[in-house]
């Protein structure tokens, strides 16, 4: 029983982490069409925030709670700076944003490598030290924390998009920018705020990541491509698909890892997602336009 349950639970937690990263992308990529390869490094920024708050507040339980808003704002600000300095000039050149942000990603990784004390993990909060017994498997509370965090992020983002004026403004701006402008929507502010929130979400994911695995410069690289695949496979423009895709990727990777090895499991999952996109490429292309210009 345990051998079947463990990958399911571990995989769900990993999927939750992937979901947090993917939710941010669902905003910046799904809504704005920006391919931000530095999104993964915003996860790192979240992990660094967790490390910082521990330096200030020694109680690990309080510091991890403080780390969440700090990480959100820190990663969000990084995203904002990126939007203002680089991305805003390239909204009509999506492939170029990809390249430019690859540069940003390389730079941030190197900064992290040089300044983050290597081998110093974020201390786990004592409250999350325990395990929950699920059919004989001791499920670490830290994983449950990650899942809860993902659910909060999901609910928050969904509510933001659906019920607030800001959500409506995002959708208006995405669907018809010139029209939105004539309706008095400050589209530039909408862009910036969207980017801030999307990047901030990655920061939250980074806090969770710092609790689950170690924190190293490759954290972002590990998640970024998979997160993009999750957003694409889930289908653009809605969150439900992203949730399902993230969970499916997390859980199936965990099972494959159980049956083979970790790196082969990643290969199989990658392969499956790619094959899935061949079978169901919906959201991969839209050609329902009149002119071809």
């Amino acid at each position: 029983m345990e051998s079947l349950i463990a990958p399911l639970l571990n995989g769900t937690a990993d999927g939750a982490l992937l979901l947090i990263a993917a939710l941010g992308l669902a905003l910046t990529f799904g809504q704005m069409g920006v391919i931000n390869m530095a999104h993964g490094e915003f996860l790192l920024a979240g992990a660094v925030s967790a490390y910082w708050t521990q330096g200030v507040v020694s109680n690990t339980n309080i510091s991890i709670l403080l780390a969440l808003p700090v990480a959100f704002v820190f990663a969000g600000l990084l995203g904002l700076v990126l939007e203002i300095t680089v991305i805003q000039w390239m909204y009509d050149r999506p492939l170029d944003t990809l390249l430019a942000t690859v540069g940003v990603s390389l730079g941030l990784q190197q900064l992290f490598l040089q300044h983050y004390p290597s081998g110093v993990p974020v201390k786990k909060p004592s409250l999350l030290d325990g395990q929950l017994d699920v059919f004989g498997y001791a499920w670490p509370l830290r994983q449950i924390f990650t899942i809860c965090l993902a659910l909060v992020c999901l609910a928050g983002l969904a509510a933001l998009l659906r019920y607030t004026t800001f959500g409506r403004r995002i959708r208006a701006t995405v669907q018809n920018r010139p029209l939105a402008e004539t309706l008095g929507i400050a589209t530039r502010s909408v862009d910036r705020l969207t980017f801030f929130i999307g990047s901030g979400l990655a920061g939250l994911g980074g806090v969770a990541a710092s609790l689950i695995g170690g924190t190293n410069s490759q954290l972002g690289t590990r998640y970024i491509i998979l997160a993009f695949l999750v957003v694409v496979a889930g289908g653009l423009g809605q969150l439900r698909g992203t949730v399902i895709a993230a969970w499916a990727v997390g859980v199936s990777t965990a099972y494959f890892a159980d049956w083979t090895t970790g790196s082969l499991a990643s290969v199989i999952t990658f392969g499956l997602v790619v094959v899935f996109l061949q079978v169901r490429p919906q959201g991969l292309f839209t050609i329902r336009t009149r002119g071809l210009a």
């Binding site: 050609i287 329902r288 009149r290 002119g291 071809l292 210009a293």
Partner: protein
Amino acid sequence: MTGQNYLEVQGLTVDFDGFKANENVDVTFLQGRIHFLIGPNGAGKTTLVDALTGLVHGTGYARYGTKDLLTLKSHQITRAGVGRTFQTATVFEELTVLQNLDIAGGVHRRARGMVLARRGVPSYVQEAMETVGLADHRDRPAGILAHGQKQWLEIGMLLVQDAQVMFLDETVAGMSHDEREETGALLRRIAPTRTIVVIEHDMDFVRRYADIVTVLHAGKVLAEGTVAEIQANPQVQEVYLGRSTEGVEHG
């Protein structure tokens, strides 16, 4: 002057998630005639052409020769001799007039000739260039052509690709008076051996050049006949001409 060739559409329906942009359209386009498609905005004119050229999926039947166009992909439809232009002229702006026309000549060549550079001007390209009156502009980038000239270039590309059926989507929209005259004359010149279908809003142009007119309304065929018959049709007057005199049909 009517030839043997025709494109027969039967029961064409285009369904956009429950919204029927075209419903049960029956229409036949005959060779040698200039056929106009008119109707208010949203009547389904462009969608009809989109369906017949593989841009959107339609059900029903569209027989051209031995083929059902609705089962073919866009490039296969083009190869079968059915071509189209677009509301906004889409030529390759960085290529010259000559290159634009030449690139449309794929039906005349074998695949292995593709890796060779062009030498001289193929006769079918020269001919098309003269027919549409762009011979003087042959080495200019298409991007700097006037709006009307771009539309002519598109028609020229259709000539080069040997399109026997040509769908022209609002070709004269935005043209000057003289350009419209020249376009009309061009259509008359190329019509005898071809099937020409024009989507048009400008009733003046329709009156002058239409051999036959099909009126679409709410995705369905409302009426078909000569200009005079259409103008006399009370239903058409109600949904289309009545409004067109108020000048709200553009957009």
